[in-house]
Amino acid sequence: MAKKQNTSNERAARAAAALAAQQKAEKRRNLITVVSVVAVLVLVIGGVYVYLTNLDDPADVAAAGAGEGTYGVTIGDDDAPHSLVIYEDFLCPYCGEFESATRTKLEKAANAGNVQIEYRPFNLLSSISDYSERSASAFFVVLDKEGPTVAKKFHDILYENQPSEDSETFPDNQQLLDWAVEAGADEDTVSDGILNESKKAFVAKATTAATDAGVQGTPTVILDGEQVSGSSVDDIAQTVIDTVS
């Protein structure tokens, strides 16, 4: 009886020891597996991160400097110390915000000879309405027929009257014509072009040129060859104004 009890106890003890040893071994093995999996994960995450960071080189926006573009209106002297290029869409609310935050100060800086500015409208928001395309077409008609001064004024009026993206209806071509006339364009000279959207093909080229330059959204603001980024439109506007004023 006593002997059997002993044997039983020994067995139990041996079993417990074996179990403990095995659990320890398994713990170690599981730890090694987890560490290996995490190492692979870190490699995947790190690899993708490095890949994306290299792909997203700021030099991606390789736009021509102010006054050198084909698809924009330029204000300010050629020999101004700063060059500012603004890619924009007449329907884009951030562009409208940027416009109202900067227009007066930028005009002042341009007139003082501190900066040359080129505004390059294109058709980014075609998925929302054809207003982007029609307004840009009208803008290029005015630029072509009436020159940069009237075109810039027309540009300003378009932003002052910018429709909301949520609008049910957008300003029609007649309205665009009225605004062009308000900007100082001769009605007979520009009406055909604006009403028939004669610069649509030109808008398409401007859009391709913007995309080719690496422009992905609006407003894209390029100051002295570097894209300006900021946490908000006001932030970008402030950076620009601080530099050129």
Binding site: A15, N30, L41, I128, S231
Partner: protein
């Protein structure tokens, strides 16, 4: 006295039950629901990441459009998010570290819901950038609503996986087998 990885028939029932209790039982419909949850949530993460890979600048802009974080961290996050999403999706599809991946998934989705809710509340018009793309959309409020609904659905599936991480066709039980069994000989005596 041998240490067995596959318990011999006859005296394994209690130990196996004990081991299963650690990770949840593999019978009943729950592990199949778990498999479905893994495939849906993991698949969405992988697709979301892959769509962003060709366009890192778009991904950065999408983060920026939420207008929450300082510009100093925006580009880093814009590049890091697709990487994390890809890794997370692969883990879930494979059923590897399921519970941990599901926790991260749920936390990320909760953050996204809050981010979308705050642009909605502030009246900012932006594409959520969830699957690449960015910028304003035609009907932001409807879009925000459906995006939040979708993320909440994915969040629910993630939480399910946190609670029931034991699923069918998963790598976890292969790489981390349940505690093997020492035959308890005293039972025989």
């Amino acid at each position: 006295m041998t240490v067995l990885h596959s318990p011999a028939p006859g005296h394994d029932e209690r130990s196996r039950r004990g081991a299963r209790a650690l990770l949840g039982r593999l019978d009943g419909p729950a592990p199949w629901i778990g498999l479905g949850a893994r495939l849906v949530v993991g698949g969405v993460w992988v697709v979301a990441a892959l769509l962003k890979l060709p366009d890192p600048q778009g991904s950065v802009q999408a983060v920026r459009n939420y207008q929450v974080l300082p510009e100093s961290v925006v580009p880093m996050l814009g590049h890091l998010l697709p990487a994390v999403e890809l890794a997370l999706g692969l883990l879930l599809l494979l059923g590897l570290l399921t519970r941990q991946a599901a926790v991260v998934s749920a936390v990320l989705l909760a953050v996204f819901v809050v981010a979308i809710a705050q642009v909605w509340a502030r009246g900012i018009n932006t594409n959520c950038g969830c699957f690449g793309g960015e910028g304003p959309v035609a009907h932001p409020q409807l879009a925000y609503f459906t995006e939040i609904l979708r993320d909440l659905g994915l969040l629910a599936l993630s939480v399910w996986l946190v609670v029931r991480p034991r699923t069918r066709l998963a790598l976890d039980p292969v790489l981390f087998p349940a505690t093997a069994v020492v035959p308890d000989e005293s039972e025989e005596g």
